[in-house]
Amino acid sequence: MLLRVDPSSTQSLHDQLAGQLRQLINDGDLPPGEKLPPARELAEGLGVNVHTLLGAFKTLRSEGLLEMRRGRGTTVTDAAPERADLVELARSFVAEARRFGLSDDTIRTTIEAQL
């Protein structure tokens, strides 16, 4: 797997890493069940703090894309491909809504109205 970061970008390292991980899952480069290399090694290679990378891992875990288990490492969940699409939809929706000038509270209310 390939990861890259640009410290001079306006996007935070966390967002860059999380975005790339989602992309890898979306493209099938990280298939369901695949075990990720140790965060320590990836962070060392990228020259970023391991906790920054772990933060991105945890974000994807909260999105249901990654599983982190002690002793088993970080793996891509079986439902990841479908979830990745949904997460991407959610991101676009939020981005679009913000462009319209909606506040976070309004965005939440809009979604809840659908549930």
Binding site: R4, D6, P37
Partner: protein, 325 residues
């Protein structure tokens, strides 16, 4: 050391030296005893003897067989798989050197004795025989290094690269497993369990346990390329590991690895000793790294294009790079 010099050394110089050391004493020293002590017991006292002729023939056979390999490697026209030349020539020279040293020390050491039973095998003699054999073996191995190997004729592959913005960093990690090593490890585990259950001696069980852990750990190799260079790690073990610093790398390419070029599977060669090394776990795609000092390192791994691209991109943006002649 040119190839020609190495071949001359292996086929002529070293054999002549070894043969001279072994047999000149027999030819030049006059008045040799009828029998020589040829076998010694645990306390260094003789318990067997030979005539001069028998001594010459037995050590002669050792020297001849050993030199056949040494000379053979020197005269072999076609490139041999990596490691085969130094191993064959080195082992041959070692055996020949030992035969010659035994002949020489026996004749020289016992030339003044009237009765072979007075002979003694001193520690010094023993050590000098081993040392001479080792020197001969190492010399042949070192000479054989200069010979071309099949790994030299590996098909050259594409050298991909990528665009890295200023300050941008990239890392690529690839995993590879060896089914063979996993299989051996599983077998070893079964042996361990059986031995533990039937109550085998604990030392033997411990040895098998360590072997099992080793096989299973070596069965997985992880390759990582980034701004610091290439890292090869085996199953999480802290050793052995390979790290090629980016400053030492000239280029990286994708190649099709043929295990027969390397004389087989596993960790082949040695960067320090043989200038070539490879982690060869299967035939197929692999990452080849050419170092600035002319040495080569190869590792079989799937989809090596990205890994090679990162290395080439990072090499290209190192400051103050002097282009090699």
């Amino acid at each position: 050391m040119t190839e020609k010099t190495a071949r001359f050394g292996l086929a002529v110089v070293l054999p002549v030296i070894i043969a001279a050391v072994g047999f000149l004493p027999m030819l030049l020293i006059s008045d040799l005893p009828e029998r020589f002590a040829s076998h010694f017991d645990g306390s260094g006292l003789p318990d067997g003897s030979m005539t001069l002729t028998q001594l010459a023939v037995t050590t002669g056979v050792m020297v001849t067989i050993g030199l056949v390999f040494c000379i053979g490697v020197g005269l072999w026209r076609k490139p041999l798989p990596a490691l085969v030349a130094p191993t064959a020539a080195g082992t041959g020279a070692f055996v020949a050197g030992m035969g010659a040293a035994i002949a020489a020390t026996t004749v020289i050491g016992q030339r003044n004795l009237t009765d072979f039973n007075e002979a003694e095998l001193g520690a010094l003699t023993f050590v000098s025989v081993i040392a001479s054999a080792a020197v001969a073996g190492l010399a042949a191995g070192w000479l054989a290094k200069a010979l071309p190997t099949q790994a030299d004729t590996m098909p050259e592959g594409a050298t991909p690269t990528m665009a890295l913005a200023e300050g941008e960093r990239a890392v690529w990690v690839g995993d590879q497993s060896s089914a063979l090593l996993f299989g051996i490890g599983a077998l070893s585990l079964a042996v361990f369990v059986t031995m533990a259950v039937i109550g085998a001696p604990w030392l033997a069980v411990l040895v098998v346990a360590l072997a099992t852990v080793t096989f299973l750990a070596l069965a997985r190799v992880r390759v990582r390329t980034d701004g610091s260079g290439l890292h090869v790690v085996f199953g999480g073990l802290p050793w052995p590991r390979t790290h090629l610093a980016i400053e030492d790398i000239e280029s990286a390419s994708v190649i099709d690895v043929r295990p027969k070029d390397w004389g087989g599977w596993g960790y082949r060669g040695s960067l320090k000793l043989l200038d070539q090394a490879g982690v060869i776990y299967r035939a197929g795609p692999g990452l080849r790294v050419n170092l600035r000092n002319g040495k080569t390192f190869v590792v079989t791994i799937d989809n090596p294009e990205m890994g090679a691209a990162i290395l080439n991109a990072e090499v290209a943006r190192l400051p103050n790079q002097t282009t090699p002649a």
